[in-house]
């Protein structure tokens, strides 16, 4: 029983971790909490739905379409809303993100209607019984995909030139500009990559819960944010750790404490961590 909850927690946690990485990338370069990240998650799931159900594409192409779609949503957010707000009081972009999230939810509601749609592709998950745990191929696939994405991001940020530019901007925007890095491009990159990661998480969870609907991004968006702050805002390993802790604690809490508070455990842990260690688990203190 407890092992099964841990497996479920890891699956949910890997999706939170991907959303948290999106937050962290953007927070790192811009110091902005993009609360509309959950709507990119939703956009990814709907992108896949459009590709599979409307255009009739097979799974790999549909996933690719979903990734591109969420990256485009992320990039246009940056270009249309956040770039004009650069340098304002930090509360202003935060509120603009909230406005954006309401806006995108209602766009999805108008375009697709309020009903919950099943995952558009046929998928027969196999079940494996491994001692106390039942594992499905779907769960395995989701966790491996998440790990692959995290690994890819790690490589990108630490080894590629563009990723290093991203880090430079996160460390010191002005100094990065002095050595010829264009901060705007890095910010756009962060939105594009962060959008893809959140969109991937949305597609994964649309398959896992077999549900795609306009408000699906609200709670994962908030929890991804919690995970990012929990691990240390701006830290990539922190975001992954935060996501896993969150996924595990809410599954264990729902199973052993009270299931009605499932969505509250994430925040309770977050509040406790912030009061004891404000910079997050792996964050550096200022």
């Amino acid at each position: 029983m407890i092992w099964q909850q841990i497996v479920n927690g890891i699956v949910a946690g890997s999706a939170y971790a991907l959303v948290a990485l999106g937050y962290s990338l953007i927070y790192g370069v811009l110091g902005l909490i993009n609360l509309a990240q959950g709507e990119i998650y939703m956009a990814g799931a709907f992108g896949l739905w459009i590709a599979a159900a409307v255009l009739g594409l097979p799974l790999p192409l549909a996933v690719l379409f979903g990734l591109l779609f969420s990256a485009v949503v992320g990039l246009s957010m940056e270009r249309v809303v956040f770039r004009p707000l650069t340098g304002r009081h930090p509360l202003i972009p935060l509120l603009a993100a909230i406005g954006l999230s309401i806006f995108l939810q209602s766009v999805a509601l108008l375009a697709f209607g309020p009903e919950t749609r099943p995952f558009p592709l046929e998928f027969e998950p196999q079940l494996w019984n491994l001692g106390p745990v039942t594992l499905s191929t779907l769960q395995l696939l989701l966790v491996t995909t998440a790990l692959a994405l995290m690994g890819g991001l790690f490589w990108y940020v630490h080894a590629s030139r563009h990723g290093q530019a991203l880090q430079a901007v996160a460390m010191d925007r002005e100094a990065a500009r002095l050595v010829g890095i264009k901060p705007h491009q890095c910010v756009a990159q962060a939105f594009g990559i962060g959008g893809m990661l959140s969109g991937a998480a949305g597609m994964m969870m649309a398959a896992y819960y077999n549900a795609t609907y306009p408000y699906m991004g609200v709670l994962p968006g908030l929890k991804g944010f919690c995970a990012a702050v929990l691990g240390g805002a701006g830290s990539i390993p922190g975001a992954i750790l935060g996501g896993l802790i969150l996924g595990l604690s809410e599954n264990l809490g729902a199973a052993y404490i009270h299931s009605g508070f499932k969505d509250g455990y994430a925040f309770a842990i977050l509040i406790a961590i912030l009061l004891l260690r404000p910079q997050g688990l792996l964050g550096k203190s200022k």
Binding site: I33, V81, P84, L85, G87, R88, H89, P90, L91, I92, P93, L94, L95, A96, I98, G99, L100, S101, I102, F103, L104, Q105, S106, V107, L109, L110, L222, F225, C226, V229, A233, H258, G260, F261, D263, G264, A266, F267, A268, L270, I271, L274, L275, P278
Partner: protein, 298 residues
């Protein structure tokens, strides 16, 4: 029609009261809260539960107890939270609001998701509530305007602009910040009590994240730190959905879009002064950055 307008005036007054109370920490001492709906709820549930279990208590006493109870919760919870800044404080208050809402839904004595029914209205008519609500609004706005003045107001501004500088000047930030939060919770609690006895039923959904976000938007749209800003922002955002009822499907689209447009083109809010326009205080300036292009109606 007249009854409908009266209803709008009362309910709108409650939202203005809530926005005005949120303006105290957000606008005066610079503490963002995304959990203000919870203090509204604490007042409503205290007042509702007391009215159900102790029917002898008169309405004014309930109003005071609801306000004080809500303020007491703020005083107890805020000292550790207020050591956090900006986005961290935003997420902690957001978490507090969410946990509060879940608590209301899952606890037995708050009536679960159904909430509390059949609360007494003490034989008061709509017009009586109108006086109470707008009286409380006037009191809250008066307190805000007093807080902005004198030594106290200058201390708050110092904390808002730079807490470290304030400290070096010998100002202890924490008691002032806690005071602002408690005062804010007091008025939110009063609004909760008024709401509970005017509507006569309450449920957890009213006091959740949606309300908290709406209130913060009212404050920012009206102009953070201004006395009359919450009045303008509150009325505008409260009436907008009513005016757009025919286009109910597009309501959120307009609401979200409008919020973005106003933040891009008039970030200081409707009644706030643009940087460079004012004589001494700029409600929204924090980073030193060129003044945003002021619009023609500025």
């Amino acid at each position: 029609m007249a009854a409908y307008i009266l209803h709008l005036a009362i309910l709108g007054g409650m939202y203005v009261l809530l926005a005005a109370s949120l303006n105290i920490p957000v606008g005066l001492s610079g503490q963002v809260s995304l959990g203000h709906g919870a203090f509204f709820g604490i007042g409503a549930y205290i007042s509702g539960l007391l009215a159900i279990h102790y029917a002898v208590l008169p309405f004014p006493l309930l109003l005071v107890l609801a306000g004080l109870g809500s303020a007491a919760v703020a005083v107890l919870l805020s000292p550790p939270a207020l050591k956090l800044k900006d986005e961290y404080l935003a997420v902690v208050t957001l978490g507090f609001g969410l946990i509060f809402e879940l608590g209301l839904k899952n606890l037995a004595f708050t009536g679960g998701t159904d909430g509390l029914y059949g609360l007494p209205n003490f034989g008061m008519q709509g017009a009586d509530f109108l006086w109470w609500v707008w009286g409380a609004v006037a009191l809250c706005l008066f307190v805000t305007s007093r807080l902005r003045k004198g030594q106290f107001g200058r201390n708050l501004t110092a904390i808002k602009e730079s807490e470290r500088t304030a400290r070096t000047l010998g100002i202890a930030p924490l008691p002032l910040k806690v005071g602002c939060f408690a005062l804010s919770a007091l008025f939110a609690g009063i609004a909760g009590s008024l709401y509970a006895h005017y509507i006569t039923f309450i449920n957890p959904g009213v006091f959740g994240l949606h309300t908290s976000i709406l209130l913060l938007c009212m404050v920012v749209l009206g102009g953070m730190g201004t006395v009359l800003g919450p009045l303008a922002g509150g009325i505008l955002l409260f009436l907008l959905p009513e005016l757009l009822q025919e286009f109910a499907d597009y309501q959120d689209l307009v609401y979200g879009g409008l919020l973005i447009v106003i933040l891009i083109f008039r970030p200081q809010g409707l009644l706030g002064r643009a940087p460079g326009q004012g004589r001494r205080r700029f409600p929204l300036r924090r980073r030193t950055q060129p003044a945003p292009a002021s619009t023609s109606n500025a």
